[in-house]
């Protein structure tokens, strides 16, 4: 009995992860909701068929045990139940399959029409192993560049243009929509229509190298006012450093290895091959969802990025503890 209970607990344990920031059953986006509806239809139809077959099997086994003998050959031909039962069964299978086909077709059509009139365009470029994000605007001074996070206003259809700088990746924000591949040398796209505010998590869904599993994307769906506030803040250059520790960190960042790869808007650091850090401290996580954004984690990351995310393209520079402290303090001001 105890063993049976243990097995039940074990089987139920994975279900505990079904809610929350990364689930395909959340339905918080238009496409996600379509998917959940289709999933429900499939679940009901398949469960019904499964039950009918199981009941039929049990009945057949019982009858064979009690009544029939092997030489009762004429039984099959004369049974009054068999013929109509077969007809009903065939009709049931045909109807069920047809219903599923039509449901899939309608879902597909609905998904294709999800965001014909997008009012927000952003480009997500995948890199090993992080996401580069750029919000477009007809006015070039109003484009926003960030990394490893996207913010979306509720109810506004967004067109996401997808590119890759190295290998094939796949963007999957299960709460909002299905997967879409990002292919080097090609442009693909994805329509997102978030319906419910909240914090979600996207993930690379195509094996892309050693740190594929630590290539996540923080997604924030918020009200239009909150989105505008965030967007305005992102347009600002980084604040100048205030305290002496921050100034030391600023000095190191803008003159040494950091600035070869990273950009901080409004400073001489203008590398373009690593995540943009202009508003680094306003994000929820470090290094594409590897660590939560805390001062301690930033320090840990700076001291040895290879220990936190082995194989990533940020080298261990060999910073002294003082330099780590100064850089952590400066990066912490980049709200």
């Amino acid at each position: 009995m105890n063993r049976r209970a243990a097995i039940c607990v074990l089987l139920a344990a994975p279900l505990a992860n079904c809610g929350g920031v990364q689930t395909a059953l959340g339905g918080e986006g238009a496409e996600g909701a379509n998917f959940v509806r289709l999933f429900t239809v499939f679940m009901i139809v398949c469960a019904a068929m499964y039950l009918i077959i199981t009941v039929g099997l049990i009945v057949a086994l019982r009858r064979r045990k009690s009544a029939l003998t092997l030489d009762d050959r004429r039984h099959h031909e004369t049974s009054p139940v068999l013929r109509p039962a077969l007809a009903i069964w065939t009709a049931l299978v045909v109807t069920g399959l047809a219903a599923l086909t039509v449901a899939s077709f309608l879902t597909d059509r609905s998904n294709a029409a999800v965001a014909r009139d997008s009012r927000l365009t952003l480009t997500v470029t995948a890199n090993q192993w992080w996401w580069d994000v750029e919000y477009h605007s007809p006015d070039a001074s109003r484009t926003v560049h960030t990394a490893n996070e996207i913010h979306l206003p509720v109810g506004v259809p967004a067109e996401v243009i997808l590119k890759s700088n190295d290998v094939i990746h796949s963007l999957w924000i299960p709460n909002l929509a299905g997967k879409q591949d990002l292919i080097p040398g090609r442009v693909t796209d994805l329509q997102l229509v978030p319906r419910k505010a909240g914090q979600y998590r996207g993930q690379c869904a195509e094996f892309c190298g050693i740190q594929h599993s630590l290539m996540a994307l923080d997604v924030t769906v918020e009200s239009k006012a909150d989105f505008q506030r965030w967007y305005q803040a992102q347009l600002q250059p980084a604040p100048p450093p205030a305290g002496s520790l921050e100034v030391a960190g600023y000095g190191y960042f803008t003159t040494r290895e950091c600035s070869s790869c990273h950009n901080i808007g409004g400073t001489p650091a203008s590398g373009q091959i690593a995540p943009d850090l202009t508003h680094f401290a306003s994000r929820r996580s470090i290094a594409a969802g590897t660590l939560p954004m805390t001062q301690a984690n930033v320090a840990r990351w700076l001291a040895d990025p290879q220990a936190q995310k082995p194989g990533n393209h940020m080298p261990n520079i060999g910073l002294s503890p003082d330099q780590v402290r100064a850089l952590t303090a400066y990066l912490g001001t980049l709200k």
Binding site: C261, P310, G311, P315, N316
Partner: protein, 182 residues
């Protein structure tokens, strides 16, 4: 023919595969090696018998390692080396696929050139790249003229290219620039 022959051949083949393990060794996963890029050394004049000291094992590691060369290839593109050297063919900066080396063509000499910079345009990368990255870049630069083992080079160039893949690059002799017919 006895059946033992193919079995021993298989065993030999498998053992030969083990020899390739170092080719892919990735030192990024641990602490970076403590092998600082040396200061510049003169190109043709050396003390003693006039021949250069052998390249250190640390430096030799980089040019025999596929991962280091591939990282160098990425750095070559992302640090915009092509801006002056083109994709090795040269432009504003000297070509890197030929046999002429103004400041020496050994991996330690190339790494020193990257670290210290050179007159008339080559910037110093000291403090802008880690020593490890400069070694990786130097290993890739060596591969452009076929100086590194063929089994370690990348078979694919990342840019448009009208030259054969590096696995087929002819090995150029190492020669200082002033020894050419000028």
């Amino acid at each position: 023919m006895s059946s033992r022959f193919p079995a021993s051949l298989c065993a030999l083949g498998l053992m030969a595969c083990l020899a390739g393990c170092h080719r892919e060794a990735r030192q990024d996963w641990s602490k970076p090696r403590a092998d600082a890029v040396p200061a510049a050394s003169p190109d043709t004049i050396f003390p003693g018998n006039g021949r250069a000291a052998p390249v250190t094992t640390a430096a030799a590691f980089y040019e025999h390692n596929a991962h280091a060369i591939a990282r160098g290839q990425q750095l070559f593109a992302t640090m915009n080396c092509s801006g002056c050297h083109s994709h090795g063919g040269g432009g504003m900066g000297p070509a890197l696929i030929d046999d002429k080396w103004v400041y020496g063509g050994r991996i330690d000499q190339i790494a020193a050139s990257i670290m210290e910079g050179r007159p008339n345009g080559m910037p110093s990368w000291q403090g802008k790249l880690t020593d490890q990255q400069m070694w990786q870049l130097a290993a890739y630069v060596r591969s452009l003229s076929g100086q590194v083992p063929k089994d370690a080079v990348s078979a694919r160039a990342d840019e448009l290219s009208n030259t054969p893949p590096q696995t087929q690059t002819e090995r150029e002799p190492l020669r200082p620039a002033d020894s050419a017919q000028q």
